[in-house]
């Protein structure tokens, strides 16, 4: 299919993406470099978590120690600890579909992974309506092919079809694809990726 991306092209595209990311300090890193055809890109994004409250378990409370006097410290400002939500985005290559696949996960400060329903609620409002029809064929949970842990995935079954539209128009099909599907789950690429891509 026209939208299929051979591994060599994928590899070239992510190398270029990394170069741009490094230039912008945008935070993408290459993982699993030693495994041929299993390298992937990772970016971590930390945002304030306004929704998830976690109560410390009574057991954790029982482990507290009365150190306040010993550790008395006038030089500390004690702010209310802002909770964070960590998002991790992985760009992998699907050998079954011959296209890039976006895997992602998000977890709260205490390590709890967001559920699929939570994920859906966080899908950008602009996309919710258009995806409502077949939302679960777009967003599913899968075992990460390298890490072997549950990850969320934007299902690659329509990717080749989508990429077919950009064939011949995009110098870097992975960047084009990522900037198209990323915003669905809160991942945005700075416009410099487009500018730099079109120049090179």
């Amino acid at each position: 299919m026209a939208g299929c991306v051979p591994w060599e092209e994928f590899n070239r595209c992510i190398t270029q993406l990394l170069t741009i990311s490094d230039r912008l300090s945008d935070g993408w890193t290459l993982h699993n470099k030693d495994a041929p055809k299993e390298t992937y890109l990772v970016k971590k994004v930390i945002i304030p978590d306004t929704e998830n409250k976690s109560d410390l378990s009574p057991f954790a409370v029982s482990l507290e120690e009365p150190l306040d006097d010993v550790l008395e410290d006038a030089n500390v400002i004690r702010e209310a600890g802002g909770r964070i939500l960590t998002w991790e985005y992985h760009v992998l290559y699907s050998r079954s579909y011959l296209v890039p696949v976006l895997y992602f996960n998000a977890w709260t400060h205490d390590g709890r992974l967001l559920s699929l329903e939570d994920m859906w609620c966080r899908v950008h409002a602009n996309f919710q309506d258009s995806l409502q029809e077949n939302r679960w064929s777009v967003l599913t949970q899968q075992e990460h092919p390298v890490l072997r842990r549950p990850f969320y995935q934007l299902h690659p079954c329509h990717t080749a079809q989508l990429l077919g539209c950009f064939r011949g128009k995009s110098p870097n099909i992975v960047i084009t694809w990522l900037s198209t599907v990323g915003p669905v789950v809160g991942l945005t690429l700075p416009p410099q990726y487009a500018e730099i891509t079109s120049v090179e």
């Binding site: 954790a60 702010e79 390590g111």
Partner: protein
């Protein structure tokens, strides 16, 4: 701003502490290191952490550790900064709890102090970014306990004479962007955390330079007397500041000022410009330093670092004493001491989520426990069916249906496995036999091993096999003899029979669906009666040599008014559907005369049990998805392929019975009415059972013709014989209406 000066004496410089943020991947890696490399070793292991000075408002300064913590080299990407960490993983919760936290802090503070006093930290200032992580990994429950500390000396106490300035208040727009550019051009992260900034006097943005901290003695750092802090030109002491608060710097500045006050005594008493460099990504994707803070700091002499609280010494040998009465320890301030670190009081233990000194806990069972992962995957697989094909499917209903399987042979095994496939979590298997050598090849839950040593009890072996296949299932095996009518109970068996009946009643009462999967007709009578009385859904499967019958029993309605009339002969409402015995005109017990399908079941084509067992489960599932459940009407017209929605279950039709004939590879769906003289489910029999209980049952067990007598079948037989019109072989076709 007012926060700085809120109470008397509080215009001292206060730092915002780090929050530790441990990525689940760190624990994945720790489990691996623990199980495969460290095992019971408890020694400290160097790890890497990282933090960022590009923290948007709303977040706090976080120090992160993830799986990269175990790398040999710190591989942080700009703009991240590495931190030197030590992992202290304890083998037991006890040692985690009991280790002396103050002594630990002291020990690791000493290492920081060594980096400072040796001057090493001037050359590699990243040595000032230190932390240690005390952990205990409960690898059975996948609970991880951790407590971080970011050691810092309790001095110097800096009194701020002026409010912190925002960098945009002194720098031009061009300069804040240029500073970000030159700062991010520093490739070595070790030099990006603590540094000097030289700003040229011409106000030209191109004259901003980052200078390594080790050059501090070569450049004029102090602000000349009388010069205003707002004057842009000069040399700034720079620190990458992870804190987004408007009035407070983050933790790293603290150790930097300690370093300067020890190593650069010539600067003590002089005014310094401190630049807390904070990065911010502008909407146009360029970096700016506009949110950075500029502080005017005067370093106090080190010998009077803590005028208000005496410095104390903690000896490892008097830990408990130190814990109990730290403030009463003698002050040992001595400028000429060779080990000044021992005089320093150390702070830096992190507080937990509720602001107390204590560890945090991360529960990762849902992403690490293989049992939980298996459960999630099984459910997910089913959800895909719902999401992709059938949004109206109620999977939780299926999952929470408690299934009782009477019989754990070929049918029982096949039914149980298909139930697992549908995600059913609660399965009870009943049988009275043991696994024999011939069983494992046909009965899919058993292996050869189960048949050794006279064989394991089938129900127990099957329940264990289900757990071995899927540990998320709550399966249980019950060895039980089901009392049968026409099998007289002698006095020696009376107590057992009474117990067995009671157990069966309780089992049926505590489940939602009863599967009749035994190899005899007689043993189906008692559970049919009890389930009819308790209004339970009954799924029945019976095998012939190459034929099978799968049916659902009608469910009695308590509400006579609600009874729906027959739908013009096309379908029969669920409460008017017959049971297994409604088609018979003889009571079980004298089985030699009237053989039914199931009574030949030991000689069956091997594939047939898998077919019938699977059908029984699929029929149950279709029925559960029907809004009327057991009361769903069954079509009695064959080939009823009209619009799928007609029967009301998203999965399609819910026939009363399915009969298959393997010799012709044919299958037909049939429906038949409840029989008012049925020996198992007629009102008369139910009334006798419900009013007289075990006494009635005993009479049925002991007296072969009793059931036929009370239901009037005896009379019917007599009439039929008189009329000479009935032939037993016709009985099936008579059902068809």
């Amino acid at each position: 701003m007012s926060a700085m000066l809120q109470t008397e004496g509080s215009n001292i410089l206060q730092y915002s502490p780090f929050n530790s943020s441990v990525d689940p991947s760190f624990w994945h890696q720790l489990s691996h290191v623990k199980l495969d490399i460290d095992r019971l070793e408890e020694s400290a292991r160097p790890i890497w952490g990282y933090y960022s000075n590009a923290v948007p408002p709303g977040l706090t300064s976080n120090l992160h550790v993830d799986c990269s913590a175990y790398n040999e080299e710190c591989e942080v990407q700009k703009p991240l900064l590495g931190a030197y960490g030590i992992l202290l993983n304890k083998n037991t919760l006890e040692t985690f709890k009991n280790c002396n936290k103050i002594a630990l802090l002291e020990e690791h503070g000493q290492e920081l102090w060594h980096s400072i006093t040796s001057g090493e930290a001037l050359n590699n200032p990243a040595l000032l970014s230190r932390f240690f992580l005390l952990t205990y990994a409960d690898l059975k429950k996948y609970h991880f306990y951790y407590w971080s500390a970011f050691p810092a000396p309790s001095f110097p106490i800096i009194t701020l004479k002026k409010q912190p300035l925002r960098l945009v208040d002194t720098f031009s727009e061009k300069q804040v962007t240029e500073l970000a550019r030159v700062y991010l051009a520093v490739d070595d992260w070790r030099q990006r955390g603590y540094f000097l900034v030289k700003v040229g006097s011409d106000g030209d943005s191109s004259s901003i330079n980052i200078v390594p901290l080790c050059d501090i003695k070569k450049v004029p750092v102090a602000i000349p007397d009388g010069e205003d802090i707002k004057k842009t030109e000069g040399v700034y002491v720079g620190v990458a500041d992870p804190c987004p608060l408007p009035d407070h710097p983050g933790w790293p500045l603290r150790n930097l000022l300690a370093l300067l006050s020890y190593c650069c005594s010539e600067l003590v008493g002089l005014r310094l410009r401190v630049l807390c460099l904070r990065l911010r990504l502008l909407p146009c994707s360029t970096w700016s330093t506009k949110d950075s803070l500029v502080l005017e700091v005067t370093l106090p002499p080190i010998s009077t670092t803590e005028p208000s609280s005496p410095e104390t010494t903690f000896s490892p040998h008097s830990e408990s004493e130190a814990l109990n009465s730290p403030t009463e320890m003698p002050s040992l301030v001595n400028n000429t001491s060779h080990s000044p670190g021992s005089k320093v009081r150390w702070v830096g233990w992190e507080r937990n989520e509720r602001g107390k000194f204590g560890p945090r806990v991360m529960n990762l069972s849902s992403s690490m426990d293989p049992v939980r992962l298996a459960e999630t995957s099984v459910d997910l697989n089913l959800k895909l069916m719902k999401w992709r094909l059938m949004p109206e499917l109620d999977l939780d209903l299926i999952k929470n249906t408690r299934c009782l399987l009477l019989g754990s042979g070929t049918l029982g095994c096949s039914v149980a496995r298909t139930l697992l496939g549908w995600g059913v979590r609660y399965i009870t298997l009943v049988d009275n036999g043991c696994v024999s050598y011939s069983n494992p090849v046909r009965q899919s839950l058993f292996t050869y091993k189960d048949s050794l040593n006279s064989g394991r009890p089938k129900s127990e072996a099957a329940a264990d096999a289900l757990k071995a296949i899927f540990p998320g299932v709550e399966s249980c095996g019950v060895q039980l003899n089901i009392p049968m009518p026409g099998h007289p109970i002698g006095p020696s068996l009376l107590a057992d029979t009474r117990t067995n009946t009671q157990v069966l009643e309780e089992l049926i009462g505590s489940h939602d669906v009863v599967f009749l999967l035994m190899d005899s007709r007689e043993s189906r009578w008692l559970p049919t009666l009890i389930a009819a009385s308790k209004r339970k859904l009954v799924m029945n499967a019976a095998l012939g040599f190459d034929t099978y019958l799968v049916m659902r029993h009608g469910v009695k309605s308590d509400d006579a008014v609600n009874s729906i009339p027959d739908c013009s002969g096309k379908s029969i409402p669920g409460h008017k559907l017959g049971c297994y015995f409604c088609n018979d005109v003889t009571a079980p017990g004298n089985s030699q005369r009237d053989r039914t399908l199931d009574q030949q079941c030991t000689v069956t084509r091997p594939g047939i049990s898998a077919v019938a067992g699977a059908l029984a489960v699929e029929l149950m599932v279709s029925l559960l998805q029907h809004p009327l459940r057991g009361y769903a009407p069954a079509s009695c017209v064959e080939e009823c392929h009209s619009e799928g929605g007609e029967e009301g279950s998203p999965l399609g039709l819910v026939p009363h019975s399915v009969r298959g004939f393997l010799a012709k590879f044919q299958q037909v769906s049939l429906a038949s009415h409840v029989f008012s003289q049925c020996i198992a489910c007629s009102d008369k029999v139910l009334y006798e059972y419900e009013t007289r209980g075990f006494d009635f049952l005993l009479q049925a067990f002991n007296t072969p013709d009793y059931l036929e007598d009370i239901t009037g079948l005896t009379q019917l037989h007599k009439e039929m014989e008189d009329a000479q019109i009935w032939e037993l072989s016709d009985s099936e076709s008579c059902d068809l209406e």
